[in-house]
């Protein structure tokens, strides 16, 4: 019996550093009393960062915690009980998984679209000009693994175009594909238009007409069971409204159909 008080310090010692890690994400906004946690696909990193700032500016005492990752990873985390209030996915299939598990607090709404683009290192050393060029022998092509949305899209575009891709590596996210291209290890990669825009001068984008056959749609939804359902809905409205749409369009996203 007299041992139990001593368990507490042990548990605290374990948990406190973690809690400290978590609060770092608030950007030092210590005055905030309410936290809205938004889980969003990696490709939304820059735009949702901006939208979150707009949201915080408009809501006194509210801090937005952003958690970016592969859409499927995020859904797994939410299924395992992660405290997400809003979820924005990079494709509808992943959102369907969340809806299928009754974890969507409302009907998901499409807020943006994205298409694929060829990305090459600055200067395009391999001289890629078309989607067909990606099938060349000896080309170091890097794409996403078929299990993740960008890989599924790459596969679908290749099927539609009748081109067989033989990548040297199948990565887990667009960020990993970009890293291989910016470092010059890969001659070419397939990522979203918005990723090329965000990557800056280290890479060049090459648009190709076949990309129009596969358009990725981004849905967003408040998560079922959130304590902040009103705030979550307001965040969704901000993304769907003119401010959110302007920020997304500036980054290269297409409007939702």
């Amino acid at each position: 019996m007299n041992r139990s008080p001593l368990v507490l310090p042990a548990v605290l010692a374990l948990v406190l550093p973690l809690a400290a890690c978590g609060s770092d994400a608030n950007d030092g906004d210590s005055a905030a009393t309410t936290t809205l946690t938004v889980y969003a696909a990696s490709s939304l990193t820059a735009t949702f960062g901006e939208i979150a700032q707009e949201f915080e500016a408009a809501h006194d005492g509210v801090a937005v915690d952003l958690n970016f990752g592969g859409s499927s990873d995020l859904v797994t985390q939410i299924q395992e009980g992660a405290p997400a209030d809003v979820f924005a996915s990079a494709d509808t299939a992943t959102m369907d998984t969340l809806v299928g598990d009754d974890l969507a607090g409302a009907d998901p709404q499409d807020f943006a679209t994205n298409t694929l683009e060829i990305v090459v290192p600055a200067g395009n050393p391999a001289g890629i000009t078309s989607f067909q060029d990606l099938a060349e022998q000896g080309l170091n092509l890097v794409i996403c693994a078929p299990e993740v949305p960008c890989g599924a899209a790459a596969q679908a575009v290749a099927d539609d175009a009748g081109v067989t891709l033989s990548p040297v590596s199948e990565e887990q996210s667009v960020t990993d594909v970009l890293a291989k291209v910016t470092s010059g290890e890969a001659d070419a990669g397939l990522v979203y238009v918005t990723d090329v825009e965000a990557a800056g001068d280290d890479v060049e984008g090459i648009t190709f007409p076949e990309s129009a056959s596969v358009v990725n749609t981004y849905p967003i939804v408040p998560v079922q069971g959130t304590d902040e359902s009103d705030l979550a809905q307001e965040f969704v409205d901000l993304v769907l409204g003119s401010t959110g749409q302007r920020i997304l369009a500036d980054a290269g996203f297409g409007p939702a159909a």
Binding site: R3, S4, L6, V7, A10, V11, L14, G70, S72, D73, V75, T76, N140, V142, A145, E147, V148, P167, V168, S169, E170, E171, Q172, D176, A179, K180, S183, G184, E185, A186
Partner: protein, 262 residues
Amino acid sequence: MSHQRQVGVPRWIYAPAAVGVALVLLPLAAMVSRVAWGDFLDLVTSESALTALSLSLRTSAVSTVLCVLLGVPMAVVLARTRFPGQGVVRSLVLLPLVLPPVVGGIALLYTFGRRGLLGSELDALGIQVAFSTTAVVLAQTFVSLPFLVVSLEGALRSAGQRYEVVAASLGAAPTTVFRRVTLPLVLPGLVSGAVLAFARALGEFGATITFAGNLQGTTQTLPLYIYNLRVTDPDAAVAMSLVLVVVAVVVIGLARPERSTR
């Protein structure tokens, strides 16, 4: 040793110790509870799983051989010689022990990558390291080498130089002393070091995914395979994770006896 008078430990110390044990064992138990036993055999013997397992075993074996070939001389130099800056060299060589593997991957990329330090030389020789099985072996060797060096250096130091001195005074040349006296003396330490290095190579993930990429049969080792499947096929990922846990338990069993006799 067993006749030594037992000094009691404070009673309260059991509480944090139990928390620590739970912290290690609970996640493992949770994982085992998720194993789909009905499909277990099918999952761990699927073609892609076997390809990843076989690639992991082959690359880890080659890395372990490289670790022995390079690590034994390193340990001998560190344990048996004196030179200026030795402490610094030892610390730096052991760096991969504490370095996040992803940092190691980036460092390797800047060394052996196309635009890396040795990139143009390798290119001239027609060797492309990135995205190849060679890259996997390099990454594994990079992270496992310190494990072998540490355990062997410890074994060399605790073995002392008495027998080596005697052998040398009887006229044995340094190479003979090394081969006939030093190596047999520290063989248990070498074996446990090699087993640890093998285990570390088998578990290598961060440096591999950063430096080598991920392609079935070429660079997709078991940890990368598990990482790939964790979302789309969690059952297969858990099944293969269990295989790795079993391998790890066997490895600890192999490496431990040598330690307790030291």
